[in-house]
């Protein structure tokens, strides 16, 4: 697919930076806000999903996607790039299960997705992905939350914010995060964090919430469930 160019388009600047990756991170920082919080018995991610127009059919497309029964993924940045990574991540998860007969541990998925993202910073004729991913999963009852950057780096987080206003979001979380809180409280904190950067009223139509519950399953909350939490 990319073999026509034999040289990478992502090259070092004299100061030692890969500017293409910096620009990709700028694309992420301009994207819709996303928040992820790890609780004692689960993980929650929440993201703003503002429709540009009232004619939009909101429910046809989702920002928070299931990768495997126990893993969910969301992004800040460019939607189309996210879709490509979702497809890849799903294939990676299924191939693992096919080879090892076991569900892929979230950390393993993250390692492999990170490797894919890194490929696009070094391969010929491609550009880095314009998304930062938040990957959440339950491994044997233990909740995990990871971030994957356009460079291919990945970080495990207790709580984090991506996209517009992520610095304020992270500051807010630093104060409000509690390692012992239950999933319901974490959902509440996630909503509050999103509200900080929200323009206008937050309703169940313009926000999406996904959780990994204590049964080890990824679930996207329905409109009614979100309404209950708001």
């Amino acid at each position: 697919m990319t073999e026509r160019y034999s040289f990478s388009l992502t090259t070092f600047s004299p100061s030692g930076k890969l500017v293409q990756i910096e620009y990709a991170l700028a694309a992420v920082a301009a994207g819709a806000p996303t928040v992820g919080i790890k609780a004692k018995n689960g993980v929650v991610v929440a993201t703003e999903k503002k429709a540009k127009n009232s004619l939009y059919e909101q429910d046809s497309v989702h920002k928070i996607e299931k990768i495997a029964d126990h893993i969910g993924m969301v992004y800040s940045g460019m939607g189309p790039d996210f879709r490509v990574l979702v497809k890849r991540a799903r294939k990676i998860a299924m191939q693992y299960e096919s080879s090892y007969g076991e569900a892929i541990p979230t950390g393993q998925l993250v390692q492999r997705v990170g490797a894919v993202m890194q490929e696009y910073t070094q391969s010929g004729g491609v550009r880095p992905f314009g998304v930062s991913l938040l990957i959440m999963g339950m491994d044997d009852g233990k909740p995990t939350l990871w971030q994957c950057d356009p460079s291919g780096t990945f970080f495990p987080w207790k709580a984090t914010a991506l996209g517009k206003n992520h610095i304020n979001g992270k500051t807010f979380l630093e104060k409000r995060f509690n390692a012992d809180q239950e999933l319901d409280d974490a959902i509440h904190v996630a909503i509050l964090t999103l509200k900080e950067s929200f323009e206008g009223a937050m309703t169940e139509e313009n926000v999406e919430i996904g959780i990994c519950n204590d049964l080890g399953k990824f679930v996207r909350l329905s409109h009614n469930e979100i309404k209950d939490h708001l």
Binding site: S98, S99, Y100, G101, E102, P105, G107, Q111
Partner: protein
């Protein structure tokens, strides 16, 4: 002469109470000629996970080496010891990759789950069909003879000494009825914190 009888072997694995045993003969021969009498068929894959390979020796060796390669990468990537069920999937996959030009060797897996310590044994065919055993698993040119012997000697919940007796007697008497296997035996008794290897004297014929 069948390719499975070119080298000859006797392999058996048995479960006990919180322990497993895996035993093989030690003859390495080429058809009727015996080359060595101290051949190692059992390969260590983890502190409590062992695999023994029957059949064509060159394939037995290659499969064991390729398996260890995949296993090492798994443990490096995942930072944890493999559990036997996952290992069985790995073996099955490796063998099925060669579905239409198979390895002429079948593995027998014996081990304990690294977290629960539960005994685990499994056998395969040469294209990777896994059979997770509850009592014993046998293989090699003496496979059928071993089945009969094990059926007679095995009981549930054998302790490690009883298990050693059961598996040793099964192996020695079965390999005596097979001209391609014998010339000595090795028995590994695998417990949660200790693995004992015993070398048995057998009929040299």
């Amino acid at each position: 002469m069948s390719i499975d009888e070119y080298n000859g072997s006797a392999i058996v694995a048995m479960t006990g109470k919180d322990c497993v045993a895996i035993a093989t003969d030690t003859r390495f021969g080429v058809q009727r000629t015996t080359i060595t009498t101290d051949f190692e068929r059992v390969h260590k894959m983890g502190p409590t996970l062992y695999v023994a390979m029957s059949g064509l020796v060159t394939d037995a060796y290659t499969v064991a080496a390729r398996l260890k390669y995949r296993l090492n990468l798994y443990e490096l990537r995942e930072n944890r010891p493999v559990n036997p069920k996952v290992f069985v999937s790995m073996v099955s996959n490796l063998l099925y990759e060669r579905r239409f030009g198979p390895y002429f060797s079948t593995p027998v897996v014996a081990g304990l789950d690294p977290t629960s310590g539960k005994p685990f044994i499994a056998g395969f065919d040469c294209i990777g069909d896994p059979t997770i055993g509850t009592d014993f698993v046998t293989d090699g040119t003496s496979g059928e003879q071993l089945m009969g012997m094990c059926e007679a000697f095995w009981r549930p919940d054998l302790n490690k000494d009883e298990l050693f007796e059961a598996i040793s007697q099964s192996l020695l008497n079965a390999q005596d009825r097979d001209s391609y296997a014998g010339w000595g035996a090795q028995v590994y008794i695998i417990e949660k914190d200790k693995v004992t290897k015993k070398i048995l004297k057998a009929r040299k014929d």
